[in-house]
Symmetry: C2
Subunit: 117 residues, 2 copies
């Protein structure tokens, strides 16, 4: 991922409406939601939301697909993963012990998966 995409992603999440959209889409999962439905739920004008969705897409945090008249937006988990990876990789760069606290704090939040590995 280029630094530009990385910064686009961070910039995308630095705005209340877009943060709300991101949270919503993460919760909706891979099937996503039509642009209009997102606008309705968040009570944002459709053209304003469209601009915000474009910003999120530039940061590779959401993807869109057309289904008939609808344009469906869904979170791009690959993009999220790269963001987390960036934060984590730089964090324990060369010093795993510095990362330990991070990982320990991270795993329990993932539905008890820590017990399995």
């Amino acid at each position: 991922m280029s630094d530009q995409t990385l910064m686009n992603a961070f910039a995308a999440l630095a705005q209340p409406t877009r943060l709300a959209v991101f949270r919503l889409l993460i919760r909706e999962g891979p099937q996503g939601l039509p642009a209009g439905e997102i606008a309705r739920r968040l009570k944002v004008p459709q053209n304003t939301l469209s601009a915000h969705l474009a910003v999120l897409a530039r940061g590779e945090l959401v993807r869109s697909r057309r289904e008939g008249r609808h344009v469906i937006y869904a979170a791009d988990l690959e993009g999220v993963r790269r963001l987390i990876l960036f934060l984590t990789r730089d964090c324990c760069h060369g010093k795993p012990e510095r990362c330990e606290a991070l990982v320990n704090a991270l795993l329990p939040s993932c539905g008890g998966m820590s017990a399995e590995r």
Copy 2:
């Protein structure tokens, strides 16, 4: 962490100079670097850098302490952790299997710690 702090953190990382400062400080570890030294290394005027450091501090990504004439800046790993936690928690909210790919991708980057847990 408030949404405002969260957005401040994302906004802080959405600018090339600040991204560079963040990377530098993460690598320098807890002892950190004086503001002037950061400015010298990144070839940024000191007053410009000072403004950027203030933005990073507002996002709780760096902390400062005074040592004599120097003001030392160091990465705030707690802040980074909260960022990662936000991204991860929202991501696997209620559906751990959705998170699995994330965590698997995450652990190997941390110096082989995955083998130990």
